[in-house]
Amino acid sequence: MKLHRRYLTSVSGIVMRELLRFVHQRERFLAALVRPLLWLIVFAAGFRAALGLAIIPPYQTYISYEVYIVPGLIGMIQLFNGMQSSLSMVYDQEMGSMRVLLTAPLPRWYLLLCKLLAGVLVSLMQIATFLVMARIVGIDFAYTGSLAALPVMLLSGIMLGSLGLLISSVVRQLENFAGVMNFVIFPMFFMSSALYPIWKMRESSEWLARVCELNPFTHAIEAIRFAFYGQLNILSMSILVVCTLLFFGIACWSYDPARSFRAGRTAPA
């Protein structure tokens, strides 16, 4: 079997499998969609009166709060999706299928990348549906920028998936989704520019604003936000690229299939 063909067929096979699983698991799709829609329709509607937004780049005019948080909610979809799928790659929910994947005759980094990529493509479908729903409920967002934002969302998805893989591989205590949600997802989400601009955060707390600026999730959201408006945020894009490479590299290095056995749940005979 030619090696280059194996690289191509395996990536298409892994993506196809993930899409088929996605189609078969409608409840997973609905759950992923309900969360950001609730934030958009309920939270943002209540919050818009409390938060006045000044005109900041990339916006050129006054925008409503609902419009502001759309990129943040796109990031939220990717954050939940990335953490969830990465956690299942390390722990035994998917251990069986991970064994089949990891015994394929290809470099491990490539197989993990394909798996992350497949997860990101699923999250992009969720995002597309979310944007359609946002349009239906009348949110005046820059929908025409979707194509320009696509490569950025692909990159941010891989960064968040890699981060999830890295955290799940390294931090032994985070072995269920509740732990990841409390100690990773919520802090990353709330300490970012997803829900409020950093200048607004700075009005309340300088150090929190600093933390927000250091959070790679902030830069993922900002890169997405600017891309939707056809602009390139060079700082955020650079941080996004560096973090993606860094997190993916460390995640591959630290990923150990023997770990779920060592955790004592399925000790090998």
Partner: protein, 264 residues
């Protein structure tokens, strides 16, 4: 860096293999060599190290000591070493939400089989295993025996040189076990692959089978069952297994390490 030309005469070559769990040796000094077309029964009680050995051979775990070569390729060269390897894991590894055909196609894609060739091989294999009418059913709807058949089909679709089966008949009824065993026993002749069948069930062994016996992470015996019967003056296989297990327990508890690859 270029790899040295592989010696393909030996399908599977394991030397002085060792692996530790929490600083305790789960496998130590394991050596086994298998030729193409050979069937070896890896016999050992639960906890003997069979699954650890399989995880090492298929590259899931990294060995602490020793070497593994498949078709002459060291496992350090994953793309060449794992290409001719087929594995049936002890635990369930099929995707229950996908159909039989989708599961098999996924595996073919991982091994670089073109779509048309994959489809033809899948159709033929499903017919041979009498599963062709269920190709489009979700795996979730299949019983345990049928799922195992699908896993065996999957492990052989790429025509491997080495096939590993980790207790594939556990939990199955007797007729299904016999049927699967019969099918796998034919593979060394029909496909020419070396088959390593791990089990703790004595009734799966024939007198003419080569047995490698694993006990507490060490290989204690390696030979044809008939010869082991004669050497140990045992009337039948259950008596032989009792005798070998006792001998292995004594050696292990005395702390003296047996020489790998030797018969009792």
């Amino acid at each position: 860096m270029p790899h040295s030309p592989p010696d393909k005469s030996t399908a599977l070559d394991i030397r002085d293999l060792g692996f530790d769990y929490r600083a305790k040796a789960a496998l130590d000094g394991f050596t086994l060599s298998m030729e193409a077309g050979e069937l070896v029964i890896l016999l050992g009680p639960n906890g003997a190290g069979k699954t650890t050995l399989f995880s090492l051979i298929c590259g899931l775990f990294a060995p602490a000591r020793g070497t593994i070569r498949i078709n002459g390729f060291s496992l350090a060269n994953r793309t060449d070493a794992l290409a001719p390897l087929g594995v049936v894991f002890q635990a369930q590894t099929l995707d229950l939400d996908l159909s039989v055909q989708q599961n098999l196609q996924y595996f073919c894609a991982l091994h670089g089989l073109p779509r048309a060739a994959a489809r033809s091989r899948i159709d033929n294999a499903l017919k041979r295993m009498d599963l062709h009418t269920r190709a489009h059913e979700k795996v979730r709807t299949l019983n345990g025996g049928h799922r195992r058949r699908v896993e065996i089909i999957r492990a052989t679709l790429h025509e491997p040189s080495v096939l590993l089966l980790d207790e594939p008949t556990v939990g199955l009824d007797i007729p299904t076990r016999a049927e699967l065993l019969e099918y796998v026993r034919e593979l060394p002749q029909t496909q020419g692959c070396a088959v390593l069948w791990a089990t703790h069930l004595i009734d799966e062994i024939r007198n003419t089978d080569r047995i490698a016996m694993l006990h507490a992470g060490n290989k204690h015996h390696d030979g044809v069952a008939q010869q082991l019967l004669a050497d140990n003056q045992c009337a039948d296989l259950p008596a032989l297994m009792r005798s070998l297990n006792e001998a292995a327990s004594n050696i292990t508890s005395e702390g003296s390490k047996p020489q790998p690859g030797t018969s009792a």
